[in-house]
Structure formats: C-alpha cells, structure tokens
C-alpha cells in the first residue's frame, strides 16, 4: 500500500484526534486552510472539508505517526529504544557573554541560540510563543531584538505551528522554530513531505525543541486561576524543579502565591498523557532546565545543522557549554523513560498502537516498544 493512502482528511482527523481528545492544540493544522482555527488553546473546526486527504491529517502529530519512518528521514536510522531519542552530544549550557539576560527563564539557552541563528542568517525568521496576559500567542519574528519579548515558559498548550504555517505561506524557507515535543514531531512530519508534493522545499532552518512533561488546557487553567487570583495582576508563573511540587504565581504587586502541583495536574490536557516524548526528539537541538540548577540548561544536539549552530554559538560567545555531569544525565534518562513508559503502557492498554489498517495513533517496532515499557 502506498504510504500516502494512510493520510486522510478533516473528517477522520476530527474523529481520531479531536473527538478522542488526543489533540494538544499544537497548531500544525492551523493556518493551512480556512477550516481549522485555534481559539484559546483549543482547535476548532469551522466548516466541514470534503477532501479525502489533507495536510491537516498529514501533519498531525497525534495520528498515524510512523516513528521508524520519521526517524529514518530525520536521523537516517530507525526509531530505537534510547530514552532521549537520537542525539550527537549532550551538554549543560547557559547564555553566553554576548547576551544580556533580560528576563528569560532558566539558563537562556533557547533565546540565545535563536538570537544567534537570526543574527548569523541560519534562519530568516523565528516562530516563537509570546504571551497576551496568560494566553500564549504564536509569533513570527524577523528582528533579533524581538527574541527576548517571547522568552519565558508557558504552561498551557499553544498553537505555535500556526505561525510557522503562516510564515511558510508568506514564502519564508529558512525558518527557526522553538517547539514543544509534539510540535517538533509535527514539524518532522511536515518536513517528510508526506503528500509527496513535487515542489517541496524544507522550510525550516533550525528546530529548537524544548523539554516538556505536560501542558495544561488554557481555558481550564484560566478558570482555575481566576477563581484564586486577579489574572491581570499576574507577573510571572514558574514551576521550580523537584522536589518543590508547586506552581508559583508571582503577582505584579510583589505577592507570591503557591499552588500544589497536584491541583494543577488536574488541568493537564488528556492528549499529553499519551505523549512519549519529553525531550523533543525530532528537533535539531533540544533544551530543558537542568535539575537542581535553576540558572542552567540541559542541551541535546541531535543533527548536523544543530551541531554546527551550537558550535559556532559557543565559539562566538552566545552560549556557554560544558559536559553534563553523569548523575544529571542518568536523572534525565530516568525522567524521560518514565514519561515514555507511562504513555506507551496507557496507549497499549487502549489498543492505540500499531493498529492494522490506517488511523492508528502511533507506529513503532514491537521490540522497541517492549524494551521501552519493560
């Protein structure tokens, strides 16, 4: 069977992803056509589309994802049992001396690399996630100075890829993207040219993945917070690394409100519970916080172009990097594997893996699956 035959249209996407609540609102289906819109974190279908095949389905990271095929395309080898995915080097890093710290969270590696890639022309624009009040807002910037306006973590799902789709439709072909794991997966799907478009050109210049354990439903979070604080008075939200187990809300007037993480976990998107990827395995570079070191990042370099940019960024003083301590690496592997195992066991129990025919959630080799959940 032609691989393309597995790709369906809006109807099936609605049935298999939206109705089943697998959707994490990544934005891969937004701005491709007039039928999908993202509003306050949720994906809505405005009108039915009658096409039997569409990019919406082809790019969706929650349906018919063949990990072997994707890994083959991205890394030249099948999807293995490494808990951190395919990579070249792992380091710890932070912003270099060329970068003023102006309000980024953790070590500033993401903002610094984005800035560097823009300044040096590795990318001609960057897709980032800004904020309007609490609401994450996708943004496409071309001016390096705008990078830091978008810095800081967002804990609710954002349709960031809608800005990528918009930038592509405007003709940009060297786009940098800061993406969550599901978004990075969608970008990998896009880059695999699933519909075998003859004029296809890879529109990305750099994909920076960010570690993610889960995201909350924006509306649920907004409702949750508005019952506790005046939302317009919030300055910053942070989840300090374990074992704190809290979410901290910093108010503009100086007050700090601490919310037990368990209360917040009730607001996590259902789709996140099926996610097997903590470290954004399908990116060029993955960045996360370094446990126990609030001012540092973990940096995973996965591809050639990722390595080139990281090397040059170090050389030119945009980031500083050093070897990762073994115990930190072991902890990262443990945390990442934990997420994989939880999600795979759940998906397996619900018979969502490797289904015959088409429309399965995820495909991966049986032996890899068994190893990961063992």
């Amino acid at each position: 069977m032609d691989e393309r035959d597995k790709i369906k249209g809006q109807n099936e996407l609605q049935e298999m992803v939206l109705n089943t609540k697998l959707c994490t609102g990544c934005g891969a289906c937004i701005e491709l056509c007039p039928y999908f819109k993202s509003y306050k974190g949720r994906t809505a279908i405005l009108f039915p589309c009658t096409l039997t095949q569409g990019r919406c389905f082809a790019f969706c990271p929650k349906v018919e994802v063949d990990l072997d095929k994707l890994s083959q395309g991205s890394f030249g080898k099948p999807y293995g049992d490494s808990p951190l995915g395919s990579y070249q080097t792992i380091m710890v890093s932070k912003a270099g001396e060329k970068v003023d710290n102006t309000g980024f969270q953790a070590g500033g590696t993401v903002s610094s690399l984005t800035l560097f890639a823009l300044k040096k022309g590795y990318v001609d624009g960057a897709v980032l996630t800004d904020r309007d009040g609490l609401l994450p807002v996708p943004r496409f910037i071309t001016n390096p100075e705008d990078v830091f306006t978008c810095a800081s973590s967002k804990y609710t799902a954002a349709p960031t890829l809608s800005a990528l789709n918009r930038a592509i439709s405007k003709g940009f072909r060297k786009i940098g993207i800061v993406a969550t794991p599901c978004q990075a997966l969608a970008i990998a799907l896009m880059r695999s040219n699933p519909l075998k478009d003859n004029d296809f050109i890879d529109p990305t210049g750099l994909v920076i993945g960010i570690f993610c354990t889960w995201a909350m439903d924006f509306r649920a979070f907004e409702g949750f917070l508005s019952a506790r604080v005046n939302i317009s008075g919030i300055k910053k939200i942070d989840i300090p690394p374990p074992p704190a187990e809290v979410m901290e809300i910093f108010m503009k007037r100086g007050k700090k409100i601490t919310i037990p993480l368990d209360e917040v976990r009730a607001l996590i998107l259902e789709g996140c519970s099926y996610c097997i990827d903590m470290t954004a395995e399908f990116s060029d570079i993955s960045v996360g916080v370094l446990e126990g070191h609030p001012g540092m990042n973990t940096l995973i370099v996965r591809t050639e172009r990722g390595q080139e940019i990281v090397d040059n960024a170090i050389q030119e003083g945009y980031i500083m990097a050093s070897a990762i301590p073994e115990e930190k690496l072991q902890h990262l592997i443990w945390a990442s594997l934990n997420k994989k195992r939880r999600a795979l066991i759940k998906a397996k129990q619900e018979e969502m893996l490797n289904k015959e025919g088409n429309g399965t959630f995820l495909r991966l080799r049986a032996e890899v699956l068994e190893k990961l959940i063992a």
């Binding site: 056509c33 509003y39 809505a44 405005l46 589309c49 096409l51 990019r55």
Partner: protein, 645 residues
C-alpha cells in the same frame, strides 16, 4: 391619481385582492388604517398609505399587531371608521386585545382584516385565524373572489356599525395576492370629526367609557349582537348557490375554496350533478339558509383550507336539525377527501369529486405529463433557499457561526422571524436552532440563559431583526436583564422590515405615509433596559467575530450586539456598488487543500460561481452587488475588491 381613488362608478380594474380590500375600505370612507407587515397582508396598508394624503386618512405601520388593533379601535371609539390588517400570526399577537374588544364593542365601523397563509408559503405556521372569530364571538366574513374582497370589506364597515362590534374579514394568499377584475363603486367622502365620548353609563354603547366590564352584561350584549348578525347573514348576497335544485352532492365552501371548486366542477362537467353553496358569512352561520340547502341532498362535501372550521360548524347545525334535514353523509377533512394541511388547488377538489361521484377523469395523460416535466427537470439548476447577494445576514451568520465554533462549547442561536429565519439553512451556516414566533428567540434565550443552575454550560445567543426588536423582543430583553440571564442578543439591524418590503418601523425616521417621524434608537433602548451594548458592522468579519467571542465569554448578564448594515435590496443601497470584485485565477486555490472551494461551497453567495471547467471561482457580474465580503473570506487572497470611485 391611483386606480384606488378612481371615483367613476362601474369602472373595472384588474386589482390584486389586497388592493380590492383597500378599495372597499375607501368606498366605506375609512379614516384610520393600521397594521403590521406580514405576507400576504402587507399591500392593504401600503395601498391605503399611498392614498392617505389624497383621501385624508391616517395610516400607520404599528409596532406590532396588538398595538395596531388598539390604534384602529381608538379611531372607532372616536366614531371614525377604521381598518386593521395583519397576517394570521398577527391575530395571535392581537388576540388578547381582540377578546376584550369583542366585549367592549366598537362605535365607528371597525374591520379587522386577516390574511391567512395556508401551506405556510411565507410563514412559520399555517395556523388558521377563523377560530378566533368563533372563540371571541365576533362576526366573520370570507370573500370568495376579488369583487367580493372589495364589496365585502365595504359592507363589513356597515355591519360593524349596525352591530357595534368589530367585524373580521378573512382572506388567504390566493385571494390577497392573486388579481381579478373588480367593478368599482362610489368613494364615500370621509367624515373627519373625531370625538371620544365617555360621560355616559358603562352600558352606553355610544357615549359610555369603552371597556369590557361589567363582563356579565357586556358578554350577554355581545351574544345578542351575534344573533343580529345571523339575521343579516340569512339575507346576505355573499352567500350564493349554483347548481341543480336537487344535487347529487352539495359542496359547501368559502374563500379560495370557491375558486378551486368552481374550476373543478367545470373541468369535470359536473354542473348538473353538484350544487355549490359558497358562504361569505362564515361565523355565525345562517341556520335557515343552511337548513334549506342541507335538505336538498344526502351527500355533503366541504372544501376549505387547513382546519375544518366550516365542516365542524355545519355538522353541529346539521345534528341539531337532523329531524328536518335528514341524515347526511359528510365528505371533507374528517372523512379524508380533503387534506387537513396545506393549500388546496383544483386538482385536489377534482380528485375528491371523482371519487365521490365515481367519475373517470384523467387530468393529463401520464406519458404527456412525463414529457412535459423532462425539460424542466433537466433545465433547472438546483437551488437552495439562500440570502440575496450582499445580504448582511450572510456576513452576520458567518461571524456568529465561526465565533460559536471557535468558542467550542456547543453554543447555539435562538432564531426569530424575518429573512434571518433562514439562519437554520446552509445559507446561514445552520446556526439557528430554534424558530417560533416573533420575539420568541429572545424569550427562549432568556430561559436558556438561566439554566446554568442545572449544569448547562452552552453559550446562548438570540438573533432578531430591527423591526422584530420593537415588535416583541423588548419585553423578553427586559425579562432577561431583570433576571440576570446570561445571553447575547444580536440585533441584525438592516434598516427596515426587509422581508415584507421595507415597511418603516419605529427605528426609522419616516412613517407609512412618508412623513418624518422621530426614530427610536435601539442601542439607547437596550442600554436603558440595562444591557451592555456594542454596535458593529457585520461586513467587518474579524471585528464582529472577535466581539462575539468576547461577549460569549462574558458571563455577566445580557449583552446586546447590534450589527448595522442595510439590506442589499434597500432603496438606498439598490443599484449601488461599493466595490468592483474580480478573482485572480492564478491565486485561486479552487479545490486544492488549503481552500476546497470555501467561497462557492460554504459561503455560497449567489454572486460567486464555480467554473467547473477552469476549476476556479468566478464573480457573476449580473448578481454581484459589490459588498466586498467574500474578499475577506478567501484564504488565498484571490478575491480582489476595488473601491468604486
């Protein structure tokens, strides 16, 4: 000079039924006419408004039918002759006052004309109004042709003054909207001195206060008036009989049934076998007349539309007089020869007659009928009901639909009466989910908006037009505000009573007679009631949708969004274009992923055409009115608009 004011007695004109009714009122010297627009009644008031200055009339489009009836009654109480016109649903609205009016009685001749819509060709129901006459004990006349429409209306004024009560004249679509020859009578010069006398006793019908109390006395008096009416009806020339002395079958009919039956009898050549009793005075029935004709045969058939009003009343009379008239076999709605719903036509009457009289009749050779239908079926393109090109409702529903989809909480719209009732069809993106009476959208929304207590979390919207707002939405809005119902009311303000032909309403600066009048500002009314009000242009799709989403999330009480954009057919907009439109075929994505014919498959403005050969969208120059909205929906920016200089 209009045909309607031609004072040469005996002159014949081809008049529409509604014009004939208006002429009848002029021949009766009517002074005041009021109504609320509604198909098929609107031309009566429109015709009278046109000659208002010439004939020194006062004519108004009232805020609703109840007010219209009250306005007309006031004239009657002041000893003027007045006419009030409305469609069948209007009588429901006016019925509360009508019940009381029947008790209080009238002074100057007063006629209520109701135009029913069997088959609901232009209505949301086909509810018959005739039962009101029986229920409220007032006389009912039904013209059986166009001449009678005029003559009966004129006589209704005289009868009203004889009885001192309101007289109801009931027409139907095929009488009101068809045309026939009418021989004119003399115009009566209007007497113009109005005075309301109230110093007499409460039972003084001419000079006492006008009121329905004391009920016991007034009710008894009212029933005596009906008895008097019966006496007039026994002699009335509007009840006619054609046919043999002893027919095989007696048909009793009225109104348009008369036209259909005459045609059916003639088609079948059954003139010698069938007697046709056409009644013009249908409530109260003249018993002596009916006994006479019931006695001529054993088989009786009723031909009337929708509910069996005549049938029931005649059967009661026949039962009461069974000893004299004998036992009958009845054909009609209860027996099944005539359907109980929908319009009649000569074919239905023909087939009923054929069955009863055992006539073999082939209206049309089936082969020929098939042949006849071939070119029509093949040549007529499929067309769904839709909004006109450039209709602001399409743009409004587009934004409402999209806002609700994006909101994603299964929100819905309570619909109302107007062109926008089509909001439930694809042209309105199937947005409205309830449809009942005028103002019911806002009333239902008011109720839905209180159900959060029982776990309902769906956003609730209502739509209404500008005329409907004044007609019946205001009390519902007051209710919603007072009870803190969480709703959004969208007023689709297209500056006129568009569906019925741009009759003015209280929101406009001109009245039925073309005079300048103060207009009532919908936004200010809503604000005064206590709603949060915003005004937007529905042609600004993005702004409208964003406003709607914001309002849907506002959980505090009643929000009103007024979407102002005149109807594309309104006199001020017609034949003007804001934009020249064209499609850049190089940009048009057609059926490709990324568009899939959004403009011609979903938006479906008739001004947009799908070119099957080129696989591109095209502007239909003949239909496009240049509103420019489609350029805002095109995902590829292929629909271009250029401001007309």
């Amino acid at each position: 000079m209009s045909n309607l004011t031609d004072n040469r007695e005996g002159t014949q004109y081809l008049l529409m039924g509604n014009e004939a009714i208006a002429r009848g009122a002029l021949e009766a010297g009517v002074n005041v006419a009021s109504g609320y627009p509604g198909t098929p009644s609107s031309e009566i008031i429109e015709s009278l408004a046109k000659v208002a200055k010439e004939r020194n009339l006062y004519v108004e489009w009232s805020a609703n039918e109840k007010v219209a009836l009250e306005v007309a009654a006031a004239a009657s109480f002041a000893k003027l002759r007045s006419l009030c016109a409305m469609k069948q649903v209007g009588v429901n609205v006016a019925s509360d006052f009508l019940l009381h009016l029947g008790l209080s009685g009238t002074r100057g001749g007063m006629v209520l004309v109701t135009c029913d819509d069997p088959g609901a060709l232009s209505s949301s129901n086909e509810g018959p109004s005739r039962y009101f006459a029986r229920m409220f004990e007032i006389p009912l006349l039904e013209p059986g042709d166009f001449q009678e429409a005029k003559d009966m209306t004129k006589w209704a004024f005289e009868l009203s003054e004889e009885l001192k009560n309101v007289v109801m004249v009931r027409s139907v679509t095929r009488v009101s909207h068809a045309s026939g020859n009418v021989r004119l009578g003399k115009l009566l010069e209007t007497k113009s001195r109005a005075k309301f006398k109230y110093d007499g006793s409460s039972l003084d019908a001419d000079e006492g206060p006008a009121e329905s109390v004391p009920v016991g006395e007034k009710h008894r008096l009212q029933q005596e008036k009906l008895k008097t009416a019966t006496k007039f009806f026994e002699q009335s020339p509007f009840n006619t009989y054609h046919g043999p002395e002893k027919p095989e079958l007696l048909i009793i009919t009225a109104s348009a049934g008369n036209l259909y039956t005459r045609e059916a009898i003639s088609l079948l050549g059954a003139e010698d076998r069938v007697g046709l009793l056409k009644l013009g005075t249908t409530w109260p029935l003249p018993p002596r007349l009916l006994k006479r004709y019931l006695s001529t045969t054993d088989k009786i058939m009723f031909v009337e539309e929708v509910l069996p009003f005549l049938e029931e009343n005649v059967k009661v009379l026949a039962a009461e007089n069974a000893r004299e008239v004998g036992v009958k076999t009845f054909y009609g709605k209860n027996e099944g020869a005539i359907p109980k719903t929908g319009e009649l036509n000569p074919d239905i009457v023909v087939s009923a007659l054929c069955k009863i009289l055992k006539i073999d009749y082939l209206a049309m050779d089936p082969e020929y009928e098939k042949k006849l239908q071939m070119p029509t079926i093949a040549g007529v393109p499929e067309r769904a009901r839709t909004f006109c090109p450039g209709c602001p409702h399409r743009a409004s529903f587009w934004s409402i639909h999209n806002a609700l989809q994006m909101d994603n909480r299964k929100g819905f719209v309570c619909g109302d009466i107007g062109c926008y009732a089509m909001g439930r069809f694809p042209c309105g993106f199937e947005t409205t989910k309830t449809l009942h009476a005028m103002g019911s959208g806002a009333g239902l929304a008011s109720g839905f908006g209180k159900l959060a207590q029982f776990g309902m979390d769906q956003p609730v919207l209502a739509v209404c037009g500008d005329s409907t707002f004044f007609h019946a939405v205001m009390p519902a809005l007051v209710n919603a505000v007072h009870h803190k119902s969480n709703i959004t009311l969208v007023v689709l303000d297209n500056s006129g009573t568009a569906m019925t032909g741009f009759q003015p309403h209280p929101g406009l600066p001109v009245n039925a007679m073309g005079n300048k009048v103060p207009c009532v500002d919908i936004a200010k009314v809503c604000e005064a009631i206590g709603a949060k009000v915003e005004i937007k242009d529905p042609f600004d799709l993005e702004e409208t949708q964003q406003t709607l989403n914001r309002l849907l999330e506002d959980k505090q009480g009643v929000k009103v969004l007024i979407l102002q954009q005149a109807c594309a057919l309104s006199p001020e907009k017609r034949h003007t274009k804001q934009y020249e439109m064209h499609i850049d075929e190089n940009l048009c994505l057609g059926e490709d992923c990324g568009c899939n014919r959004l403009c011609t498959r979903i938006f479906q403005c008739p001004g947009l055409v799908w070119d099957k050969d080129k696989k591109k969208a095209r502007i239909d120059e003949a239909l496009c009115v240049g509103c420019g909205v489609c350029s805002l929906i095109c995902p590829a920016g292929a629909i271009k608009r250029k401001e007309v200089a």
